[in-house]
Symmetry: C5
Subunit: 256 residues, 5 copies
Amino acid sequence: MDIATIIGLAGAYLLIIMGTGFNLGPFIDMPSVYIVVGGTVASILIAYPLKKVLGIIGVIKNVFLIKNSSPTETIKLLVGFAEQARREGILALEARSQEITDPFLKKGIQLAVDGTEPDLIKDILTTEISFIEARHKYSITILEFGATIAPAFGMIGTLLGLVLMLGNMSDPDSIGPNMAVALITTLYGSLIANTICTPMAAKLGGYSSEEILTKELMLEGIMSLQSGDNPRIVEQKLTAFIAPGLRAAIIKEEKK
Amino acid sequence: MDIATIIGLAGAYLLIIMGTGFNLGPFIDMPSVYIVVGGTVASILIAYPLKKVLGIIGVIKNVFLIKNSSPTETIKLLVGFAEQARREGILALEARSQEITDPFLKKGIQLAVDGTEPDLIKDILTTEISFIEARHKYSITILEFGATIAPAFGMIGTLLGLVLMLGNMSDPDSIGPNMAVALITTLYGSLIANTICTPMAAKLGGYSSEEILTKELMLEGIMSLQSGDNPRIVEQKLTAFIAPGLRAAIIKEEKK
Amino acid sequence: MDIATIIGLAGAYLLIIMGTGFNLGPFIDMPSVYIVVGGTVASILIAYPLKKVLGIIGVIKNVFLIKNSSPTETIKLLVGFAEQARREGILALEARSQEITDPFLKKGIQLAVDGTEPDLIKDILTTEISFIEARHKYSITILEFGATIAPAFGMIGTLLGLVLMLGNMSDPDSIGPNMAVALITTLYGSLIANTICTPMAAKLGGYSSEEILTKELMLEGIMSLQSGDNPRIVEQKLTAFIAPGLRAAIIKEEKK
Amino acid sequence: MDIATIIGLAGAYLLIIMGTGFNLGPFIDMPSVYIVVGGTVASILIAYPLKKVLGIIGVIKNVFLIKNSSPTETIKLLVGFAEQARREGILALEARSQEITDPFLKKGIQLAVDGTEPDLIKDILTTEISFIEARHKYSITILEFGATIAPAFGMIGTLLGLVLMLGNMSDPDSIGPNMAVALITTLYGSLIANTICTPMAAKLGGYSSEEILTKELMLEGIMSLQSGDNPRIVEQKLTAFIAPGLRAAIIKEEKK
Amino acid sequence: MDIATIIGLAGAYLLIIMGTGFNLGPFIDMPSVYIVVGGTVASILIAYPLKKVLGIIGVIKNVFLIKNSSPTETIKLLVGFAEQARREGILALEARSQEITDPFLKKGIQLAVDGTEPDLIKDILTTEISFIEARHKYSITILEFGATIAPAFGMIGTLLGLVLMLGNMSDPDSIGPNMAVALITTLYGSLIANTICTPMAAKLGGYSSEEILTKELMLEGIMSLQSGDNPRIVEQKLTAFIAPGLRAAIIKEEKK
């Protein structure tokens, strides 16, 4: 569970509410919600296939709720597999592969245990990685599209309000409040873009590259253990993927 | 037929109309239509050759009405061809090629049946793919140009209205309504850009890459069956192009 | 002669004039012309060497007035040359080269007739193509620079007008008309950018890539006919450059 | 310690304060600070993992406080090492490596002294360089995100203020001051972006490429001295990395 | 000396002054100068090291005052050297190298005369070219940074002025003039960006690529004459770098 996102979101809105002096009433206007939220969703539906738009919810949920296996733990797991494969043969991994929770790693180990050709394993897993990456990229693109289109619908709403207001200025006292309502859509559009779409797209991008790195680590590890590499070599190959600080930590731990 | 686009377009305008309290009168102004719609079309004509601009209508219609062959069905079709070619010889495909509706696939199969050199087949079909891609890209470019130029003509219209209004302020009561009319062009420009040009360009881009993928799949399949590959190999080569989820579906189906 | 450009330009201004109710008087202001048109030209002179800025007029005139040889005609011409060269020897092209109007093709044929080394011909013509491309690119860059700088000078003019107006508000009746005049520069800047610079740059880009394609076709044809290729091979090599639709047209015509 | 940054920051604010006539009172408003500073930080927390956001402070401090070893000094040091290694053997560097303050250089020399395989040294140090670079890049990305998001929260704050003000215009005298307060958030957002985030990101980028250059110089030097290169060769290889002016300085110094 | 730049700069300001009716008084305001000019310089100092910022003055002066050797003259000079080297041996160039004013060419000829290894000459001169290019690029980056930051400080100044004005609206007659003063900073920012930073960066970019081309021509010429190439070959190699029009001019001149 990602704490920072929740702290950030809660914090942003708390600070904004504080900034208004806890006076939220003037900022709630249902027609403005229809125009900005509805218009943004409608425009996304014009731009992307329904299935992909619905898929984004799954991607976001996945990314925020499922904890990525940390690279260091993945390396330790793979080195452990390599040791066992060396002692008891690669078939011994069959039983252990049942415990693996990551479906990508599980599939890879099973392919190796089944004696699949190394080239085919590499091909299958590489395609799978590129499709995971493409799926993430697609969701990021939709969020970035939302970040552009939401302020545009905010402006459209404000223009609608201004045209209505300017066309009917018989009551001077209503000008101020009418204009206030007209500006609310611009506010909504800016909030959707700057507290949801833009930062979520950035975080999704970060998570995605982390997950891709872990998957590439797994691929390298599976290839290495299938070719019967010495567990030390497996470790050396894998630690090359990670930050020097983490690398030192793994080596230190082993020396103990 | 693409439902999401229609839902999206209808939804966007319904929500906007709801947001105005079903009061459309003040938003209809013919001179504003001339300036924004006309100006945008005129500027597109300055920027792109007439033939290409007219071509965009065909591309959009094609893309929204013609159902792309789904990758899984294309794979099944090609594997079926490979099986028949293996049993009865490649000439047996001549009759079946008549039933193919996709002109690209039909042409490819006929070239293979005619005994054309593999290199030449590849060259012909690759050029054809690159021209399909370029034609799509061109239409996307024109839509993106429209998305930039429509708001600019919206602003030009508003400036025209403001200059006229400011130059003649003898009647204070007309200031509001005149300014309302001036703002309508900005509204039109923003609606054209954000409900039509920008999302259509995005959807066209998505459809285009799907169609290109299917065409590349067909090319790979034709090359593979012409070289007399085993149908299983053909299938393996082609499933590498598609998402692991779909791939599993094909394999599962066969095992039945 | 490019009809679409003229229709577009005339149409854009006609629609704008219609939009103002054929009331052009309030939109003509000489000091605004000085600031926006003059300032844009002056800023272009700071940014680009005088010779290049003057050169742009030639490039635009060339591009709009000289009809590009169509790719299909160029192919037919080159295939004809190849047939004659095969029958009567390459020297027979000497006489015919006199009739060629395109200076690039003429030069290439003469180099081939003179027995210049193929590598040298290729080198000379490739450099020539890259310089043609660079010259076009340069003009496009200047137009795009104009598209950015003209609205900036429009805003500068409006700021000048506003400062003068706000500094002297003793006569309330002059505020409106003064502000109208101030806004005219922004209008001019936007018109220059959106009806001239931006769409012209796009059209120039399209023309340029068409011309480059034709030149590459000529280069390929000259190399092919100099090496004594069979006219059918020359044709096959050249048709690979063009859209499948056009390709089919050439082949059909021959079969007749 | 970087003087220019401090002069720049102090100067910018001094000039702004002078520009206001030393009248800072009207520009201080706590709710505006909550909305802009708080909202920007909150949005950064949504967009980037907490650990990375905290890490940025360390990177900035490091970059501004730790003096980069200058390339010329690094070259002299490495040439000195090469001379000693040639005279007394590479093991003689063990003692000297203790005095090295740069951890990257120290690690590299120790690896060379330990007789590690050249390929492995190169691999380890290259990974380390790419992680240093990625860490810097990450901080720059966060600063650039701040430069985009701070003005957005400035605008959000101004919209909040305008909506509140317009909804309650019973007291005409309060309109001016209320609008002044509403504009303060836009001012804050612009100041954060243009005096802190944008220029700091630029300076960080400059420092980063300087540090990476020095590290690559060290890597080249370590590889060269381990392979037993003549000190003159080491120097020649390393001076190729630096500006001709600096290169001449090193050579001149030696001739003395 | 570059005439166009001066004509452009003088012209831009003359036209602007004409546009204001030769009434400059209202546009001069010292606090606005402090905020915009001072703030821009201060922000540049935060973003770039002091030495590089000072260096930009030298680069601009160099670029505008020192006349680049024209490519055609450089070619004629190098062909002359090649002829002399062929007749009297390469050592004969020693004396002539004293007359060369371009330090890059002088250095290259001296290296060739000294009998330096071709690879080393190429390495030394290539590094020198890349450092010249980097130095130019750096100055362009600083100018482009100025083009972004100056309008931002213009807006900051206007916000400062508006907040002060709105907070104290007791005297209605002062509102206009105060707002005029507030807008002056936006005007200054826009003038700095659009008449100085942006066009200067463009011109510097053009000059830079011209100078780099000339240096690459010199490098090619030096390598060619050192390897004892026939002067005709030297000429052919070098003319490949320049526009076909100029190329023809050189050849024509020789035939005379």
